[in-house]
């Protein structure tokens, strides 16, 4: 070894240990930083140089030139990142569904004492009571009041459903904006990462940031990400790129005339603007709840109203009121929005006009009222002269489903919503468990363990101290050569 290189080796060791210690310090500082991946100094032994030696016959030998920090390793496993994001997209879909559907369930309040089922029961029981004493006006007044509160119950539920749908429409538009923002952010990060990778240094903090926004993105919408050789990430959705390199493709939320002008999600660059069928992420949760579950609830409510209205109206028209006049329609509703516009026919101005009798001028006859109270559970009309025309499938959608009872139809509506919520809750908790497991796997690799860092700290500190000692030793050796050699004979 040539005399002065020992000091150089010691210096390199000193600097390398110092760098390693600084990385340890950074790890400790970021122990709780979201998205931080633990780092480590990758040290390498210096390449040996040939030096003159007198200890072997060839006169040459290879001695290492100390240590240097080759790179700063960032602990990450792409595999777990991808798995984690998939689970997260699944979980956020179900969580979104759970929270929206719970809101729907609370708004419909079917199990409360003023639920639709209760109101319908009260309405039909009201007819039953009027059938008992059709000539007592107080009972008729009560029935008319019950009829009004039943129609209001339907209006109210339908209105709340529409309001929730509108709120979610807005939420959807905001999500699409967020997704576009994140996509451009990823594009920018890609650009910077590409540049740093070119200069052969690891842009660890940029990588951490990009992983974090990818996590955020996957929460909103199901994505596929692929790491390219140049360090840039390619993000795509259903085969269409969202981010390629530094270029991003925008999503758009456009009103869909085919779906009550509620927004659909489509690619901005697609001229036909077909709605995307998104399977995962919060956006998927919103779309499914808004377009499938809530639309179904609205449809079932409308069907209930249509059947009830047409059945009751047909019978009501066949009867006679307290003053001997033929009955008119009891209910009116606007086609297509039956539950929302369900109301007592404005022509029915007093409870005397409720057609409880099957014969004219028959005050004590409650047979029509009795028939109306029974029509809730049956789709066939009693024999009348002239006969009542049977309802078509469009006029009696409840019966068209094979279910004669409006009451059962309503409870299956409630049950179907309850089961959707069940399904969403189970899905959310299952995917959360998987997501946690994936996160744990990630954390196992990328997380900071303080004990480990403390041990490393001591390790690097001791090595640093040793390197200083080494340098001292060489210094003393040189001192001998420089200051004490060649003094003979002075």
């Amino acid at each position: 070894m040539a005399g002065f290189s020992g000091i150089q080796v010691a210096l390199q060791a000193l600097l390398s240990q110092q760098t390693a210690l600084e990385i340890t310090q950074n790890n400790v500082a970021n122990a709780n930083t979201k998205g931080y991946h633990r780092q480590e100094a990758v040290m390498k032994a210096g390449y040996p140089t040939r030096s003159m030696a007198f200890t072997n016959s060839s006169g040459q030998q290879n001695i290492g030139t100390g240590v240097f920090v080759d790179s700063i390793r960032r602990f990450s496993l792409d595999f777990y990142d991808v798995r984690y994001r998939n689970q997260q997209a699944d979980n956020s879909k179900f969580s979104m569904m759970t929270s929206m559907l719970t809101e729907v369930e609370i708004s419909l309040s079917d199990t409360s004492s003023d639920g639709i089922a209760q109101r319908m029961d009260e309405f039909f029981a009201g007819w039953q009571t009027v059938a008992t004493d059709p000539d007592i006006v107080a009972l008729r007044d009560d029935l008319l009041e019950r009829t009004r509160s039943m129609t209001e119950a339907f209006n109210n539920r339908a209105l709340r459903l529409v309001q929730i749908q509108q709120d979610q429409d807005l939420a959807l538009t905001q999500r699409v904006d967020d997704i576009n923002k994140i996509a451009s952010q990823i594009g920018e990060l890609n650009a910077e990462i590409g540049r740093s990778q070119g200069s052969n240094t690891q842009p660890n903090s940029l990588l951490d940031e990009r992983d974090l926004v990818l996590d955020q993105l996957s929460q909103m919408i199901g994505i596929t990400s692929h790491l390219q050789d140049n360090g840039q990430v390619l993000v795509s959705m259903q085969g269409h790129a969202l981010v390629i390199g530094t270029r991003t493709f925008q999503l758009e939320a456009t009103p869909d005339p085919a779906n009550n002008n509620m927004v659909k999600v489509n690619w901005a660059d697609d001229p036909a603007k077909p709605a995307l069928e998104i399977q995962n992420g919060e956006v998927a949760g919103i779309l499914y709840t808004r377009d499938v579950v809530m639309e179904n609830q609205k449809k079932l409510l409308n069907d209930t109203v249509v059947s009830m209205m047409n059945r009751v109206n047909a019978l009501h028209r066949s009867g006679f009121d307290l003053d001997g006049n033929a009955g008119v329609d009891l209910f009116v509703a606007t086609a297509g929005q039956e539950a929302l516009s369900f109301a007592v026919n404005p022509a029915v101005t007093s409870s005397r006009m409720l057609a409880a009798a099957t014969e004219t001028n028959a005050q004590g006859d409650g047979n029509n009222a009795l028939a109306i109270s029974a029509i809730m559970n049956s789709a066939t009309f009693p024999t009348r002269i002239p006969p009542i025309t049977p309802l078509t499938a469009a006029e009696d959608p409840v019966f068209a489903t094979g279910e004669p009872s409006i009451r059962h139809f309503n409870s299956s509506r409630v049950t179907s919503l309850a089961l959707e919520i069940r399904h969403a809750k189970v899905g959310a908790s299952d995917s959360e468990n998987l997501m946690k497991a994936m996160d744990e796997q990630r954390e196992q690799v990328a997380g900071v363990n303080l004990d480990e860092e403390a041990a490393n700290m001591v390790k690097y500190q001791r090595a640093y101290q040793a390197a200083v000692r080494l340098m001292n030793t060489f210094d003393e050796m040189l001192d001998k050569i420089v200051n004490e050699l060649g003094l003979a004979g002075r």
């Binding site: 008992t132 409630v414 089961l419 744990e440």
Partner: protein, 305 residues
């Protein structure tokens, strides 16, 4: 397995919130006394409860109907008992009138008595219950028997009885639902029950006034037939009342049963819930204690000197 500090913290947070969530569920059950608040908590049970509630509502109306019908039928029964008493009195009056020892004056006195009975019988046949004529079929607002006075010498003398003038004469049965598919007719045909009685009263009175024992003898037979009409109607009404009583008994029982089923399905077992709550409380305490221990553990940094 490599464990990091965040894993320990995250895990204890998850466990604590899981445990707290279970505690919250139990607390909700205990404080509301209900097994579930929303249908989604227990979908199949909720569907059952819906059905039970509707059944109960309908059944409660049956109960009211039965009670009201009973009132109506008791009113009918009372009226018919009264009418049959009158008929019997009229029969003994007629028998007296047939006696040879009685002169025309005596017969006129009996005739006056019969005329009083006629008026009373008309009142009975026009009985009202809750302001409704009970023997008038569907037309409960129209008086069933109207009277006409055609005798110019006595404008108060009822000579003709008309049943529901100008209205359908056939019996209009008022039916009431007292159970699923179980109806009961509550009213009695006023015409078949009272028309002959009233007409015979007129005839008896006139025969007595005319001192015509031959006609009176014929009317005595008619009076017996009229009494039979009333008795028959009373019997029919009586047997209906018994049916009604049985129905009421059944409805009351089934209502009680439905209510107890409902409470079984809807209400929590408090003893069970409070035991579970206590247990969950212990679990939660343990989780919190463990979390606090793991989190306050010294790490290597603190032990190094």
């Amino acid at each position: 397995m490599r464990i990091t500090n965040r894993m320990i913290v995250d895990d204890s947070i998850t466990k604590m919130s899981d445990s707290l969530a279970k505690l919250y569920e139990l607390q909700k059950k205990a404080s509301t006394g209900k097994k579930y608040l929303n249908a989604s908590d227990d979908p199949s049970n909720a569907a059952n409860v819906f059905t039970l509630k509707s059944t109960l509502q309908v059944s409660q109306v049956y109960e009211t109907t039965t009670l009201n019908s009973n009132d109506w039928m008791e009113a009918s029964d009372f009226a018919m008992q009264h009418a049959s008493d009158l008929a019997q009195k009229a029969i003994s009056g007629t028998m007296k009138g047939l006696s040879d020892t009685l002169g025309p004056e005596g017969r006129k006195a009996i005739a006056a008595e019969i005329d009083g009975m006629l008026k009373e019988a008309i009142d009975i046949a026009n009985t009202k219950h809750l302001d409704r004529y009970i023997f008038s079929g569907f037309t409960t607002n129209i008086v069933p028997f109207t009277t006409t006075q055609t005798d110019p010498t006595d404008p108060n003398k009822i000579t003709v009885i008309t049943y529901k003038n100008g209205l359908p004469q056939t019996f209009q049965p008022i039916r009431r639902d007292v159970g699923p598919g179980e109806t009961i007719t509550v009213n009695i045909d006023g015409r078949s029950t009272f028309e002959r009685l009233l007409q015979t009263f007129i005839n008896v009175r006139d025969a007595l006034n005319a001192n015509d024992t031959g006609a009176l003898r014929t009317e005595a037979t008619n009076l017996n037939a009229a009494l039979n009409d009333v008795t028959l109607a009373t019997t029919i009404n009586g047997s209906r009342m018994r049916t009604l009583e049985a129905a009421l008994d059944r409805i009351t029982k089934s209502n009680t049963e439905i209510k107890s089923l409902l409470s079984q399905k809807e209400e929590v077992n408090m003893a069970e819930v409070s035991a579970l709550l206590k247990n969950q409380e212990n679990i939660y305490q343990t989780v919190v204690t463990i979390s606090s221990r793991t989190q306050s553990m010294m790490n290597l940094f603190e032990s190094l000197r």
